[in-house]
Amino acid sequence: MTDTIYDVAIIGAGPAGLAAAEQILKYDAQVIILDEQSRPGGQIMRQPPKEFKVKDWLRGSIYTDTKNLLHRVEDHPKVNWRMSACVSGIIPLEENGHQVWFQDATGLNSLRAKKIILCSGCYERPLAFPGATTPGVMGTGAIQTFLKSQQILVGDRFVFAGTHPLQLIVAEQIIKAGGKVEAVAFAQPLSSCLAILKQPRIILSHWRVFVAAAKSIWRIKLAGVPILFGCAIKNVNEGKQLNTVILQSVNTSGKAMTNRPVRKYKVDKLGLCYGFQVSSELARQAGAKSVWSDNRGGWLISHSEWMESSLAGLFVAGELTGMAGADASREEGYIAGIGCLLSLRLMSHDVAEQTTRQARRKLKKHNNFAQALAQLSKLPVHLLETVMTGNSLLCRCENITCGTVKKALENNPHSLSANSIKLLTRTGMGLCQGRLCYANTASLIAITRNRRIEDIGPYHAQWPAKPILISSILKKRQQ
């Protein structure tokens, strides 16, 4: 069977992908948008299912621009949609273009596109600690998407623990929805959070975010919920489901302060909020170059001023170029869309320059804000050593503990790369393909060997980027 050929395939229907699509759709180009979710919007705008009617969905001015973009593109008659499609690989072709492999309800499929814009976003970084896999321990973003998309409150009593301010927003939403929040704990000291207020330019350019955050804090306080600083996860109960969360006091560098009593909470849900990792596997699998960033989300994809990666015809936009949020993703998507038109020779260089001038200015401001936010929410330096004790599960899929990996490092003094540790211990070989354990594994190696993560390297990104059924490969071969 021959593949359909598109001018542009956009992978990921979040703010970046939607903004790119909108620009390309203004021209006579065939666009297809693929996304693993059933409806467009990305994680920030995880829509309720079509069958639900939700009044005032995602209220608040910080969502307005992105929501408007979503509605414009979702209703656009010229878009080809492939939703609920999980992209497993991008293969550069010898003739011009790329082949995209994806799995959906019909099985394994492929298509061709002259250009690709990859907007694969990010996922949450869990910490490893004793009990971390007990049902009831969730990503804070997960708790939020159950609320905003499925419209369910996942538990009765909640604790949030992390370093990222997202947990304030979600805690407030949980309180509003009728949940009981026992505490919101930040591992860093209050002073590192307040440092952002010393940057008046950032406050001025992003006042809406600060107002939203202030409102959340106000409402959390009003509900009598303590917001703690210098307080991190220690452990939770093991077994059938979560019932006890223990938090510990840590100093400014993240070391345990054992002279302070631990805090114990009886809750059924714990939201973890220790930052995000960019989802760059697909881009790396295709062969695009990446660079390490400690606090902008891991292995980020390098790109030109038109958002083209080191692989010709593969454009990238949004979080996988560095965590920066929905507003920055929208501007990057816009620039990538124009860049794509430029490389398809549908737009002249002069017009492209002119059209992107404002987006570049805005992007710069958003990136300054993202930098400040990354600084605020970075993990205290010794936090991982404090939290990731020997019996903590490092690789959740293969059930490999931190202790096992430490032992392997001791026994193999020359092993340094994440890949060699993967081969030695099976860490990162399971179904999530290292998405959840990579950052913790790499940090553990870096700490033990006293090296930088750049020396450790990423796990190899291979096809398929997400597990697929062998039967679907066989079926595809027979076609």
Binding site: Q37, Q43, F52, T134, M138, A142, L153, D156, G239, K466
Partner: protein, 102 residues
């Protein structure tokens, strides 16, 4: 325990499926993860050490929500499926207790 938010929300038709051979009802558009959380069943799967796991990411990344499903359209096929990425369907048979043996 999880609960549906009802204020300002209109849901669609109720359908019936089974969870571990028990009949349950769910609204169209709900995911299996939602239904499992609402049922009070804490876990979706057992991990390699036989310990229970529940949804962690709700976005298809962690695979902790893997369940076994049998679709009424092909009743002799058992498929592993991420509960957070799979919509309910009338007559679907869902099992949470299968050991993760992939």
């Amino acid at each position: 325990m999880a609960k549906r938010i009802t204020n300002q929300i209109t849901r669609s038709a109720l359908i019936t499926l089974t969870l571990n051979n028990q009949q349950i009802s769910a609204f169209e558009g709900e995911t299996l993860a939602t239904v499992i959380l609402l049922s009070g069943e804490p876990a979706c799967k057992l991990d390699k050490a036989g310990n229970p796991r529940g949804p962690f990411c709700n976005m298809g990344a962690c695979y902790d929500c893997l369940v076994t499903v049998i679709d009424p359209a092909s009743p002799d096929k058992r498929l592993k499926s991420r509960a957070c990425m799979t919509m309910v369907k009338a007559g679907l048979r869902v099992f949470t207790t299968q050991e993760d043996s992939i």
